[in-house]
């Protein structure tokens, strides 16, 4: 296989890292916009949707082209397979960011809004997981993702706790239903993003070691 293939594969990988970081920023920035009720910031995040969609298609097409032209094998094949999965998961994460940004306008008029502490903590955990997966993919070193399962358990616990807490608020005071529902959705998106981080980590593990694992 030609040197050209390996150059293109490396470039594809770097661009995928960039795209995944872009998606991660959409999620982070939207949470920040929601926390401080920044409508303009939220609008700006919504405008990134086009970019993430176009990048996803472009990266996927480049991946398909490499498969069609070079039929990669062994590690090269695993890099390609992992890259495709990362692109898909990263796009989902970016879209959750967009969905959260969408809520900013609705939540603004709700009485006594304050983001519940568990969501802030979840956000920190999940973005940390995503950062570490991207770093593991970029450096082909699985050390940063070795304890991901535990971190995802913590995220799941927080998600259940937000769910219960919000449900209690809503039952006590029906005026909190709109706000509570949005909070549940945000927590759910974060839980899903954590799950995507785990799926990406499984694929990075496969890419680096050739072995399939399941991160529960």
């Amino acid at each position: 296989m030609s040197e050209k293939f390996h150059t293109e594969l490396e470039r594809l990988k770097q661009d995928t890292v960039e795209m995944a970081r872009f998606a991660r920023d959409m999620l982070c920035d939207s949470l920040q916009a929601l926390a401080v009720q920044d409508i303009d910031g939220a609008k700006e995040i919504l405008s990134r949707k086009k970019h993430i969609r176009e990048t996803t298609i472009e990266l996927e097409e480049r991946t398909y082209q490499l498969i069609a032209l070079y039929q990669p094998m062994a590690k090269d094949m695993r890099v390609i397979a992992c890259t495709l999965k990362i692109i898909t998961s990263a796009e989902r994460i970016g879209r959750y960011g967009k969905d959260i940004a969408n809520m900013v306008g609705f939540v603004k008029d709700q009485p006594e809004f304050m983001q519940p502490p568990p969501i802030t903590h979840m956000a920190r955990l999940v973005t940390g997981m995503i950062d570490d997966v991207i770093r593991a993919y970029e450096t082909e070193n699985i050390r940063p993702i070795e304890n991901l399962s535990k971190r995802d358990d913590a995220v799941d616990t927080l998600w259940h706790s937000v769910f219960r807490e919000m449900l209690t608020f809503m039952m006590e005071n029906c005026r909190t239903i709109t706000r509570g529902t949005y909070d549940i959705m945000v927590a759910r998106y974060l839980e899903r993003s954590g799950d995507h981080a785990c799926r990406m980590a499984e694929n990075v593990h496969y890419m680096v070691t050739g072995e399939r694992i399941e991160i529960r």
Partner: protein, 253 residues
């Protein structure tokens, strides 16, 4: 390897003059499976293939040590009938090499050499061999025309039919598709897949995608050594040796 072996070599060494072309090769070839040998040019894969039916005997200055067992019998045992050995282990070469005779005569040649004279029996063998080589439907009306009038892909399948006619146990294929177009290659690959129900196939190929497609087991050779041998899926998805990894990902070779 968990499948039962039909051929096993142990500590097989081969020299051409002073060149140590095969170095301590120990490999087990599973019965009724397709085994591919891959590696860069000059790594010894064709030489190893030619050891299995003692074709290297025809070259002066070749010296072989170590053992090759075919179904438990040492093929270098004094008194081994080499003609019988080559009947049990047939071979198909890189370029189609039909005899300059009719299609029918090409296939009937082997059984005749082995003493079959009966016309009805020969007709049956020719038809069955051509069918098994997936060629019969294309040549049924041209059995008595010259084999040289067939296309390259048909000629190669005729050579496979000629090999099948003497009912071998093992079929050696040395780059059987390298002189063929993609359509003919596809037909041979499909044929190889069918052949393993009744035969053991060992194929040498430079085309790694072909090795990945057609074989159950793959051996990677480099500079006369067998570097790694295992299930094809494992070799192409997650090879254990760095040399194998570097070769199949095109980092050298």
């Amino acid at each position: 390897m968990t499948d039962e072996s039909i051929i096993t070599t142990s500590d097989l060494n081969l020299w051409y003059h002073d060149t140590h072309a095969l170095q301590s090769i120990s490999i087990a070839i599973p019965r009724n499976r397709v085994t591919a040998l891959i590696g860069p040019s000059g790594c010894g894969k064709s030489t190893l293939l030619r050891c299995f039916n003692r074709l290297n005997d025809l070259i002066d200055s070749v010296r072989v040590t170590g053992t090759i067992m075919l179904s438990g019998n040492n093929i270098h045992e004094p008194g081994t009938d080499v003609v019988q050995l080559r009947k049990r282990i047939g071979m198909v070469f890189q370029k189609p090499n039909p005899f300059p005779k009719s299609v029918y005569e090409n296939v009937a040649y082997g059984p005749r050499v082995h003493g079959i004279k009966d016309k009805v029996e020969l007709d049956r063998i020719v038809e069955k061999s051509l069918c098994d080589a997936a060629l019969y439907d294309e040549v049924r009306d041209r059995l008595h025309e010259s084999a040289l009038s067939l296309s390259g892909g048909q000629q190669q399948r005729l050579c496979i039919a000629r090999t099948l006619a003497v009912e071998p146990e093992v079929i050696l294929m040395d780059e059987p598709c390298s002189a063929l177009d993609p359509i003919a290659t596809g037909k041979i690959e499909k044929l190889i897949d069918n052949l393993k129900q009744d035969y053991t196939v060992i194929i040498v190929t430079h085309n790694m995608q072909q090795a990945a497609r057609v074989s159950d087991y793959t051996g990677f050779m480099y500079l006369g050594k067998l570097i790694e041998c295992g299930r094809t899926r494992q070799i192409f998805e997650n090879p254990k040796e760095d040399l194998t990894e570097n070769y199949i990902t095109g980092r050298f070779g």
